[in-house]
Subunit: 479 residues, 2 copies
Amino acid sequence: MRISTLLHTTGAIVTFVGLFMVFPLVWALVYREGDALPLLWSLLITTGSGALAWRLTPRPSEITVRESFAVVTFGWLGAALFGALPFVLSGSIPSFTDAFFETMSGFTTTGASILTDIESLPHGVLFWRSLTHWLGGMGIIVLSLAILPVLGIGGMQLYKAEIPGPVAEKLAPRIGQTAKILWTVYALISAVETAALMLAGMNLFDALCHTFGTMATGGFSTRNASIAHYGGLVQWIIIVFMLVAGANFSLHYYALRGRFRNYWRSEEFRFYLLIILFGTLVLAADNLATIHPNLLVGVRASIFQAVSITTTTGFVTADYEKWSASAQFILLMFMFIGGCAGSTGGSVKVLRVMVLFKQGLAELKKLLHPRAVVPVRVDGHVVSPELALNILGFTFLYLFLFSLASIVMALLGMDLVSAIASVAATLGNVGPGLGSVGPTDNYAHVVPVGKWLLSLLMLLGRLEIYTVLVLFSRDFWRK
Amino acid sequence: MRISTLLHTTGAIVTFVGLFMVFPLVWALVYREGDALPLLWSLLITTGSGALAWRLTPRPSEITVRESFAVVTFGWLGAALFGALPFVLSGSIPSFTDAFFETMSGFTTTGASILTDIESLPHGVLFWRSLTHWLGGMGIIVLSLAILPVLGIGGMQLYKAEIPGPVAEKLAPRIGQTAKILWTVYALISAVETAALMLAGMNLFDALCHTFGTMATGGFSTRNASIAHYGGLVQWIIIVFMLVAGANFSLHYYALRGRFRNYWRSEEFRFYLLIILFGTLVLAADNLATIHPNLLVGVRASIFQAVSITTTTGFVTADYEKWSASAQFILLMFMFIGGCAGSTGGSVKVLRVMVLFKQGLAELKKLLHPRAVVPVRVDGHVVSPELALNILGFTFLYLFLFSLASIVMALLGMDLVSAIASVAATLGNVGPGLGSVGPTDNYAHVVPVGKWLLSLLMLLGRLEIYTVLVLFSRDFWRK
């Protein structure tokens, strides 16, 4: 582990993030609400500090696999630390703990907020808040489709061959090129959503902010009432794009090149739709019977929440805490499934859940045919025992972290449901939970220690746990 | 699958169970509370029906591995069906649904009860209720140490070599002999507990009933207040014997032969103590700060509940729902860990949790040393990938069943916490849960459909899921 490498890459990432502050600055100049100067200062401090670290360290000839864990983790940490500046300097979020929580929530595309009155914030700061989602989502796509498979984390190797690009064999040197292709896809779809939202009546500002929240499966809105603020058309548009954002982006790449059939060929994508269909049906049955006697409204509210939670977006159109216990339990379970691998969605991921499910059924078959080889396949490819164990290890650590953190949150004074839900919603990068951190609440009341813990959970969840956890092992820092 | 084999073995098991009804009959004759005749009828019907099925079918020359799944499942089902007779015929539990729930809860050593006033039951019926625990525990020890390893269910093969007996190589033909050895150990320890409880002031009746509840990690008490009815000495005795019952019985076998060191040599046993120590510490810290300012009482209540829930016994000395949210969460988590493999405890089992934990850490090591082989070991033996996947499949199916059943219980009208806890407490064979099925409540208010579902969960949990689930596959019934 060379510290200079770490400084070099983190500096580059921070500079990159800082340059993006020019966009909220433009909005601040348009709306003139006093946040232009704080944003300018933030931009200068961020790019200045980033550039210093970046330019004063030698460019590493190569980054080892081991170093890339630290590069990714510190990259996200650096972005969240400097990204908090606009909130603090503008006075929108005076406490640094709160500002860091909000920014980490943004960059990890979680969408958990400590704000009690979102609409009171100046437009520049609001734009920055949503932009952190979009930048985080950008990072995640490259991370999950280009970096994690190489690092060998949690079964993502299954997608080694899925990464779009001219040569499918050599991966590491292609990360840059893969990134460019994926970002183009990401930007293109984002542009389409923005246009669609504007056609549905949103102004450019709100359309951009909600596009950022959707495409990154983030969930920050510019409205206190989240998407409930808008009409049915906007809600349907957001449903569609949440579905898109929760699917593997390499499928979108193929679709843009005319190969639409790949969607249906992908077992994970089919499983993903199946999960959402199941959730929607249960929620709708429940909703129509009690809360929303109007068929259209009831179905829309059900599908919106099923999609929003499964994709770990966290937008809200209804106070689902008023729904039945079964509805709430399903939403809580969905927080543990998450989006597809290679999407901007968080949590355990559909792919892993699917492999675990198939492994469970395979064991059942083995009991009847003890001598038979019962391979688990995904898209026709056999999942090796090593890969399945990799997924097993990941999922167990995920649940273990969830349990441990829930105990701590409860020890910090939260009630049982809120403690469980706050951890599930941050570790899974969902955003809103249940109880005191439900869809109509926020995280403002959490004690500072709790906010730092939840921020760490967001990072752990976003970077697939191992990327961060490995930094805590003694082996990692050994020569 | 030969139906005659199934009738033969189930008949034998039912006859065996029926013969044990002579003991409650004796108590009924001692106390003369009107339950003697119903017990006599139950005995006659049970042994009669069992003997008919047993003697009228040919003795199978051998039982195939496949048939043994059905033999085990139908054995338990038969016992619960006929075992419900004393409750129904005596009028103690008029509804058959309730009586079946109570009996299944007994034979699966769960301890969930639909009774609202236990002390109003006649002594004969009460004795039968507790005896179902002891008989169920007897069945479980043989199942987990002699049958499941052969069936290859959920990693229990790890204990193939652990089974006591003269020849360690040939297992299947030794099931009968192994059973005898283990039952002797079980009976011996039970006798010691009964003696200890009597020395502590209990009468023979209560001492026997509570021994049955302890050794089977069942949890039925003869008192409405459960173990809170008794003083500190009784509570400490029960803590010790719950710990014994939640450990692998082959360790006790070795200890009785003078090899005490095997306890400490067993990684699972050490892990088991560690879990309980961790739970006790968190509960105690919490208890001493708020509920029980008295050091001794607070520590005793904490250790009692940690041991009672981890071993899946379900005895209660305190209303832990009045404890903090963290305490309740820990107890809920412990419902998913359970006793050691080869104990009478239920749930996922310490062994599996330990392997999953080690696998999670092994994956972390592999990230740093991609080319290294990082084997997971238990007691020095390498856990093969096949075995680890077996455990993975089991654990995932367990969590999947838990999720699915929780949704159903919530759909049946339970609140979120009660729905989750009722499923965790029955699938894990614990007994008391949280919410409306908490330590001071019972399962009487659950709707009939819910009671049947929970009864099925008790059976699924007790028989390690696969044993029952495999019967639902089309392959199973095919020639």
